[in-house]
């Protein structure tokens, strides 16, 4: 049986987070009544002209810098001509021969923990273009409605080289890209609202063959799960076709989540001739080095750099560093917590953010940006663990109290609820004496060699102080006492 290699390239349409449209002043807010956010330019009334929104260009520059691509000093808007009712001008303003970003790369991580491997996905280009409106086929009794609110929304189309070799790689790439565009603040990444849509170009070839197989393009994948399912189905379909002796025809296909299958929408024969040509209504887009430099200065530290710094400066493991740089919000929260707790407490801060906070947020279905416990509060809490004011167990109580809003800071709650750890040796010795006196049976068991009894005695001592005694001191003093008794 032949071995097959899968080849995948991804095209992503990321809606840019500008307040107004790419060539008009209309709002880009989602969810308004149909056509209320469509002005004369969006409606393509006779005589109107496009004016480029520099905010959209700014987004493209940010992206180019983030993926280490070349931000083109000169790029050109071109018209892509085709008729469709939700395309008001009868052409889409896009970029064709000269895109705004050339090249670039994105590193993806495959597998988890120690088995994780990295792979670089090369980008071909990224270009600016306008979105079309929407055709509404329901509720109009055999007719179609047109909503032009979305028409003219700025998009960045990001195109990869055919570098991915499995659906898992494709999904890893899509996830990494999704995280990056949100990280640099150019796209909200809302896949349900269509802010981030992927097309996958899929082909297969016998392992060892140089030439690519004929590709089919799966359009409009709007979730990572569907992407995986669609590619897996498409791959097995293509292999089956070839093995049955049928050649693959270049085609555009749609994925049906209900059946889990892909089906052909149009083949190469009925592909459009888009008659691209430079848009004479817009001057070439010139981006000078100053603009790039200003944008660079305004960029957040990128995830890769931040990850490396977390490892180098905070001594985190690569895995922890990756988890804490999953989004700008998480990384920002973590760094703010460390800033309060102190660099020495960076590791416990990481654990608190990744484990305790994550679990609590998950329980209430919240994201970190809306956490009731602020980064400063969590940092203050971790600081009190680090300086032995409270134990880890008490800290969990304090955390719950902070979550419930019972105080402004860990210190306030510790003070108010008297949770300060008992570290006075005399006080602990006195306590241990009481525990030993009250638990003669356990002492006897311990002396008979039952190590378990020691833990029970520790438990009794902790219980007597409502957990406030320093556990380490309790351990040490108890050993000493038992040895001497």
């Amino acid at each position: 049986m032949k071995q097959w290699e899968v080849v995948i390239g991804i095209e992503t349409h990321a809606q840019l987070q500008t307040r107004s449209k790419i060539f008009s002043g209309s709002s880009t807010a989602f969810g308004a009544e149909p056509n209320v956010q469509a002005n004369a330019v969006d409606l393509a009334l006779p005589g109107v002209l496009p004016v480029l929104n520099r905010g959209a260009v700014e987004c493209a520059i940010r992206f180019g810098l983030a993926v280490e691509g070349e931000v083109a000093p000169k790029s050109v808007f071109a018209r892509k001509n085709y008729f469709y009712p939700d395309l008001p001008k009868g052409y889409q303003i896009s970029q064709y021969e000269l895109p705004v970003v050339v090249g670039g790369k994105l590193t993806i991580t495959l597998g988890e923990g120690d088995a994780a491997v990295e792979k670089t996905i090369n980008l071909t280009r990224a270009h600016l273009e306008e979105d079309a409106g929407k055709s509404l086929h329901e509720d109009f009794h055999g007719k179609s409605g047109i909503d032009l609110n979305r028409a003219g929304t700025p998009l960045l189309e990001i195109v990869t080289e055919p570098d991915m070799r499995s659906s898992a790689e494709a999904v890893a790439y899509a996830r990494a890209l999704h995280a990056l565009v949100r990280w640099i603040g150019i796209c909200d990444g809302n896949m349900q609202e269509g802010s981030f849509r992927c097309d996958a170009n899929v082909s297969v070839r016998p392992v060892g063959q140089q030439e690519f197989g004929t590709r089919r393009e799966i359009k409009n994948l709007n979730s990572f799960r569907f992407m995986q399912q669609a590619i897996d189905y498409e791959v097995s379909w293509q292999i089956n076709e070839i093995e049955e002796g049928r050649a693959i025809q270049q085609a555009t296909v749609l994925f049906d989540p209900d059946t889990g299958e892909t089906r052909s929408m149009r083949t190469k024969e009925d592909a459009h001739d888009y008659r691209y040509f430079p848009d004479p209504d817009l001057l070439p887009l010139m981006i000078d080095r100053d603009w790039v430099a200003r944008t660079r200065a305004d960029m957040p530290e990128l995830p890769t750099a931040k990850k490396q710094r977390f490892v180098a400066d905070f001594g985190l493991s690569a895995y922890d560093a990756t988890t804490l740089t999953a989004s700008l919000d998480i990384a920002g929260y973590y760094e703010a917590a460390v800033a309060v707790a102190g660099k020495g407490a960076a590791k416990p801060c990481a654990n608190w953010v990744m484990v305790d906070l994550a679990a609590r947020l998950n329980k209430d279905g919240l994201d970190i940006a809306s956490s009731p416990v602020s980064a400063a509060q969590l940092g203050g809490l971790v600081a009190r663990i680090a300086d032995n004011t409270i134990s880890n167990n008490i800290a969990k109580k304090v955390f719950e109290a902070l979550w419930a809003g019972e105080g402004q800071s860990a210190d306030e709650i510790i003070e108010k609820q008297g949770l300060k750890q008992i570290t006075d040796t005399g006080a602990i010795e006195k306590l241990i004496d009481e525990v030993l006196a009250a638990n003669a049976a356990m002492v006897a068991e311990f002396k008979a060699g039952k190590e378990k009894a020691f833990n029970a005695l520790v438990g009794q001592a902790m219980k007597a102080t409502k957990g406030k005694a320093n556990p380490q001191q309790v351990n040490e003093l108890l050993r000493k006492k038992l040895a001497g008794a």
Partner: protein, 484 residues
Amino acid sequence: MIERSLKSLAAALAGKEISSVELTQTYLDRIARLNPDINAYITVAPEKSLAQAKAADARIAAGQTTALTGIPLAQKDIFCAQGWRTTCGSKMLDNFVSPYDATVIERLNTAGAVILGKTNMDEFAMGSSNETSYFGAVKNPWDRDRVSGGSSGGSAAAVAARLAPAATATDTGGSIRQPAALCGLTGLKPTYGVVSRYGMIAYASSLDQGGPMARSAEDCALLLDAMAGFDPRDSTSLERPADDYLRDLERPLAGLRIGLPKEFFGEGCDAAVMASIEAAIAEYRKLGAETVEVSLPNMKLSVPAYYVIAPAEASSNLSRYDGVRYGYRAPEYADLNDMYAKTRAQGFGDEVKRRILIGTYVLSHGYYDAYYLQAQRIRRLIADDFRTAFKQCDVIMGPTSPTTAFKLGEKIDDPVQMYLFDIFTLGVNLAGLPGMSVPCGLVDGLPVGLQLIGDYFSEARLLNVAHRYQQATDWHLRRPAGLD
């Protein structure tokens, strides 16, 4: 009153010799009487015009006037004007009432000018004789069996027939200069980017340019002052300080270097027309100008280059007329594609369809390099020719059109002959230069136009050169007979 210059009308209005309402009514009466035959206007709306005139009179009474306050003007029906039917000469937009003002309209409204009506034009500005208009051909007031020229034939006929003191027009390949020549008027096509294209319905975006059409250079200067200026809504509008187009009008012409391209003075131009041109140049020599022979070797390529680039852009610009959102929609259709096909087949005339087909073809996969890119290369060569010529001279002169106005119906069935009629004007648009046409004679009772071409942004100089000639001659004061 109808023979007076804009400046003199402004003085009459300011001096309360006449009110704007009276002046506007005078023209509306003439339009009612003469337009049914001449067909210069597609739309007149007296109540709208008179309301504007009334507002202008109030401004005049309050002493808040500009050079154009209260002056009625004809607007080419290519400019969107809020509340006005704006057809662009097409059945496709027969029912379109614009909800917004073109920048040119907005500027003229702000200046206090009155819109007399919307003038006839070749459909979507595609034509050289005004015979492609859905609203019928315009008759040349000098001879009503002849064409008024195109595409701004309605504006030209309106001014020539004294149905307006001046008009706006647009020029993509000669559409201001050629009808001005054929109707005995002065017209100016500015440097590309000087007048905003916002709200000016696009034919060929990289060539289209609005400008004034009037009886004299001085009137054109006044009008251009109000029309021109940077517009942030047009990305191809030039961001430069506002020019004063009146500043150089009186400058003496001594030492002016006139370039005479040998390609303008060879074959292809009617002998009597050429004699008028030669006489005009002799007049300029008398005024102190020198002449020098220059060459525009690629001029003959301007026709093929233009008829690739303009249709290419038009094929895309006119895609928005699809029957979906506004304008004409075929009454019956089977499905979406049928709706598109029938709407566009029924809504567009033959010449528009011809150019959409040519444009679609030259942009198609496999033909783009051979046609569109090649035409762009020729365009650069033509611009280079002018650049070279302007090293030797200040202004280029020659005929605007090879003949005087031809007969209605004479060329309409022969597109190539019609296209070749624009041989002297197309290069100016391809290069983006300013150009004028100035009346310089009559041949068999029909006007001849002298074309002046200047370097980029030399509008003030061109107007000066035209104005001094008009002070020395009276061709621009001649008027067609039988208009009273």
